[in-house]
C-alpha cells in the first residue's frame, strides 16, 4: 500500500516537472517567435473576425458575442480564450458590441475583461450607456437562448460570434433567433456542441484552435505555445494513424 502511494507520489512529481518544462518551453518559444508577425497558419474564424469588426463600423450595426453557458469554475481556460476574442471585438466595434452569457460566473469574468478592454481603448470618454453591453441573459443553458434572442431583438447585426463553452442550447440560440445576421462565427472546445453550432455557420473552429484565440486575435507575439501545441499535435496525429493502422492489422482487439 505504501509502495503504491510512493509510486503515485513519484508520478505526481513527474507530472509537475513535465508541466514546468512545458511552461519553460512555451516561454522560450514565445521569446523566440515574438517578432513574428504572421500567424503560424490560417484559421478562417480569426481571419474573418477583422472583416466582421470592419463591417460593424462601416454599417453601424452591432456585433453579438455569446459566450455560452458553462461555468468559469469548470471551463476557465476556454473562458479566458473567449474573453481574449471578445476584447478584440470590443476594441474594434465600440460601442456596437453586445455580449451575452448564460452563467453568473461567466458574466462576472466577461464584464471585468471586456468592459476593462473597452475602457482601455477609448471607452473612458463614453458614458456607461454608450459602453458595450455585457449582460447575463439567463442562469441555465435553456434560458441562454431566449435571453440572447431578446437582448439582440430589434438590433441590426453585422454578425454573431458564438465562442465558448456551449451545450445543445447553442443550436437553439443560433437557429431560433428572429434577428437575421449576415455572418456567424463559431468556436467551442466541445466537439458535441460544435456538431449543432457548425450547421449554418460561416466558419467554425474546434478543439485546441479555440485556445489560440489570443495569439490570432491580438497578434501580440504569444505564438510559442501554438508552435509547441502544433508540434505535439503532429506527434498525436502520427500516434492516431499508427493506432488506426494497428487496429486495422488486428492488434488491440
Amino acid at each position: 500500500m505504501n509502495a503504491l502511494a510512493d509510486l503515485s507520489s513519484v508520478a505526481g512529481c513527474l507530472w509537475l516537472v513535465a508541466l514546468a518544462l512545458y511552461a519553460l518551453a512555451t516561454w522560450l518559444l514565445d521569446m523566440r517567435l515574438s517578432r513574428r508577425q504572421r500567424p503560424l497558419r490560417t484559421i478562417t474564424v480569426y481571419e474573418r473576425l477583422a472583416g466582421l469588426v470592419s463591417r460593424s463600423v462601416e454599417t453601424d450595426a452591432a456585433v453579438h458575442l455569446s459566450l455560452g453557458s458553462g461555468s468559469l469554475l469548470t471551463e476557465a481556460p476556454q473562458v479566458a480564450s473567449a474573453c481574449a476574442l471578445g476584447q478584440r471585438l470590443m476594441e474594434g466595434a465600440l460601442p456596437r458590441a453586445l455580449c451575452t452569457c448564460g452563467s453568473p460566473t461567466l458574466y462576472v469574468a466577461a464584464a471585468g475583461a471586456l468592459q476593462g478592454a473597452a475602457i482601455g481603448h477609448g471607452g473612458e470618454q463614453q458614458t456607461a450607456r454608450e459602453r458595450p453591453s455585457v449582460c447575463l441573459v439567463g442562469t441555465e443553458a435553456a434560458a441562454l437562448a431566449p435571453g440572447a434572442w431578446d437582448a439582440a431583438d430589434g438590433r441590426q447585426l453585422a454578425g454573431e460570434v458564438f465562442f465558448g463553452p456551449f451545450g445543445a442550447e447553442g443550436l437553439l440560440l443560433a437557429e431560433g433567433s428572429p434577428t437575421v445576421s449576415p455572418e456567424r462565427l463559431v468556436g467551442t472546445a466541445e466537439i458535441d456542441a460544435l456538431v449543432g453550432l457548425s450547421l449554418g455557420a460561416s466558419a467554425w473552429v474546434v478543439g485546441e484552435d479555440v485556445y489560440a484565440a489570443r495569439a490570432y486575435a491580438h497578434k501580440d507575439g504569444q505564438q510559442g505555445g501554438l508552435a509547441l501545441q502544433d508540434a505535439i499535435r503532429v506527434v498525436l496525429l502520427l500516434a492516431v494513424l499508427a493506432g488506426l493502422g494497428l487496429r486495422l492489422a488486428g492488434w488491440g482487439g
Binding site: 509537475l16 473562458v79 437562448a145 489570443r214
Partner: protein, 203 residues
C-alpha cells in the same frame, strides 16, 4: 500595482491547486479546500451580481422603450415572484413545485425544438454547397443509413462496418480532438499562471 497583485494571486492560487492535485502528499489539501470553498462563495456573489445586471438590463430596456416590453415585464415578474416564494416559504415545497412544473416543462419544450432546428440548419448548410457541407452531408447520410435497425438485418456486413467506423476512425479522431483540447487548455492555464495572459484584468 493592482495588476501585479492580481497576477500574483492567480499564480499562487493556481500553483497550490496544481501542486495539491498532482502530489497530495505535500499537505496542501486544507489550503486547496479553503480555496474551493472561497470560489463557491464567490460564485454565489456572482449570481447576485448577475441577477442585478439582468434586472438593470430589463429596466433600462423598459425605460428606453427598446424591443418588446412584454418579455421584460414577464421576466421581472417571474424573477421577483420566484425569489419571494423561495425566501418567504422555503419549506413549503412551492419553490420545488415551480421548478418542476413550470421551468422544467418549458425547458424540455424548448429543447424539443432542436430536432426541427437541426434539420432546417442542415438544409441551409447543404444549400451552401461548400466542401465542408458536402463532407458533412456524406458522413451524415452514411451514418444515418448505417444506424438504422434494418440495415444490419438486410446485410450483416453493414453492421460490422458501422461498428468499425465508430470504434476505429471516429473514436480515434474524437480522442485526437480531446487530447488537443486538453493541450490547449493546459497552455492557456500556464499562460495565465505565468502572467503572460491576464483575462481577469481586461488588458
Amino acid at each position: 500595482m493592482r495588476r501585479w497583485l492580481s497576477v500574483l494571486l492567480v499564480a499562487l492560487t493556481g500553483l497550490v491547486m496544481v501542486a495539491d492535485g498532482l502530489v497530495p502528499e505535500l499537505g496542501l489539501g486544507p489550503v486547496r479546500r479553503g480555496l474551493v470553498d472561497g470560489a463557491v462563495i464567490l460564485s454565489a456573489f456572482a449570481l447576485l451580481a448577475g441577477v442585478l445586471n439582468l434586472l438593470g438590463w430589463h429596466l433600462r430596456r423598459l425605460r428606453g422603450g427598446e424591443g418588446a416590453s412584454g418579455g421584460s415585464i414577464l421576466l421581472m415578474l417571474a424573477l421577483l415572484g420566484t425569489a419571494t416564494v423561495t425566501i418567504a416559504l422555503p419549506e413549503s415545497g412551492a419553490p420545488e413545485w415551480l421548478y418542476a412544473h413550470l421551468y422544467q416543462p418549458i425547458q424540455a419544450s424548448l429543447m424539443a425544438l432542436l430536432a426541427f432546428y437541426s434539420v432546417s440548419a442542415a438544409y441551409r448548410t447543404f444549400a451552401l454547397r461548400t466542401a465542408d457541407a458536402v463532407l458533412l452531408m456524406i458522413s451524415a447520410v452514411l451514418l444515418l443509413f448505417l444506424q438504422l435497425p434494418f440495415t444490419a438485418a438486410l446485410l450483416p456486413v453493414l453492421g460490422d462496418i458501422r461498428q468499425w467506423l465508430l470504434a476505429a476512425p471516429i473514436a480515434g479522431i474524437m480522442r485526437g480532438v480531446l487530447i488537443g483540447s486538453a493541450l490547449g487548455a493546459v497552455t492557456v492555464s500556464l499562460r495565465v499562471l505565468l502572467g503572460r495572459e491576464r483575462p481577469q484584468v481586461g488588458e
